[in-house]
Subunit: 134 residues, 4 copies
């Protein structure tokens, strides 16, 4: 099935230069990661042991903000700037790996933290693969 | 197939009160709409007739910003505020219908505008359905 | 002293139609409100009684998201859409008044909540004044 | 005069560790840069020679997204992560210097580009100074 991201990449008037499949995968995983981190932060806030989830909530919010910026920047294919893309992807790798590590600490107690950790790991991987190709 | 949004709604520690299926559908369509509007705005920017797409680009950016805010607010299920949800959904209906109308004007010339218009219409519909249930 | 917002409004190539002074004041108070709500949410997260500040943290995050969207939309002066501006400003009034009410409940215990409540009230007022002029 | 950012930094319940004055300056310049880039992008869109401003509009939007993420992350002082702060500040330096360079090319023709370039340069400088202190 053709995804929406794939269709928009195909319909863009400019030549991308970047491998379309790596780009698509990275944009989609960034979008999924933003949603997971936003949802996990709010689920943490709703838990009775919120005081033990402070660091998790904090890192969720940061990871959402950073991946959101990367999703927006990578979606734009008109005159992209590889320098900025590289630096931003490296920042996403840092944010995703920190968030995954923190969420993994709560994965046994809270299923939403486990799901968020897995999503961050997939996003980190997609960012690393795109980085290697830029 | 269970979507990620569905899983996070199910894993949230608080009772939602709101119909989970309407909520899930609305959050997912808002997320899809944000991505479509961001991609369409950049595709418009890359077209040789960008000067004729000024209004489309403008309304794409607004629609993305408004739907993004709604996606974030609706994703949070800890102590939701129906008054805010209602007002924000009404604003999304305005933003999506304006953006769809504008994109439809360019749908013959630009396939990305057609795709964006369709996505905005689906999002508008999901917002109206959730509004009716709140 | 001329503010940056004032300068950009003056330098914009299109006629605004909207009262520049009301517009400037509203954009600036929205920006200030976003910053206050983001800072208050994080300060709440850092408090030892975070469990008692769950609703405050939640409403801070919502208010920041909604006011951010409004700040972006109102900053754009190329082919503005009064219908969208009105609906979004009404949503800001709801978000700011809810956030102010909640922060006021913690204003004695936490100075950052008092400061955030005051900022939300000023923003709500600026939104109401601009609404009356649109 | 005490700024709002300064007050919130002072009222935060946790010890920051980071030099408060460098932090305040960087957060404020990031916020100012986001506003300038958003306003400049829309002013470019409203110009009769928008086709010649495509690259400027594009880099404005990227710079706004990246600096917004950094503003949010740095505002949070509960359990900050220096690794993420450093990587994100480096990304801001890239985004601001690219945006300043591009805006400077249009500074003679468009006053809003000149103002935006100056704001990006000040932001880049504040990010570099904070980076050196982290």
């Amino acid at each position: 099935m053709v995804t929406q991201t794939e269709e928009f990449l195909r319909l863009h008037p400019r030549e991308s230069g970047t491998d379309a499949e790596l780009l698509r995968s990275c944009i989609e995983r960034l979008a999924t990661c933003v949603q997971a981190c936003t949802a996990c932060a709010d689920a943490c806030l709703g838990e009775s042991d919120v005081a033990g989830l402070v660091s998790c909530l904090r890192t969720d919010l940061d990871c959402a903000d950073v991946c959101r910026a990367a999703e927006q920047v990578l979606t734009r294919r008109t005159e992209p700037r590889p320098d900025l893309e590289r630096s931003l992807l490296q920042t996403c790798v840092v944010a995703c790996s920190q968030c995954a590590l923190e969420c993994e600490r709560h994965a046994e107690a809270h299923e939403h933290c486990r799901l968020c950790a897995d999503t961050c790991r997939l996003c980190e991987e997609a960012c690393r693969r795109l980085l290697a190709a830029l």
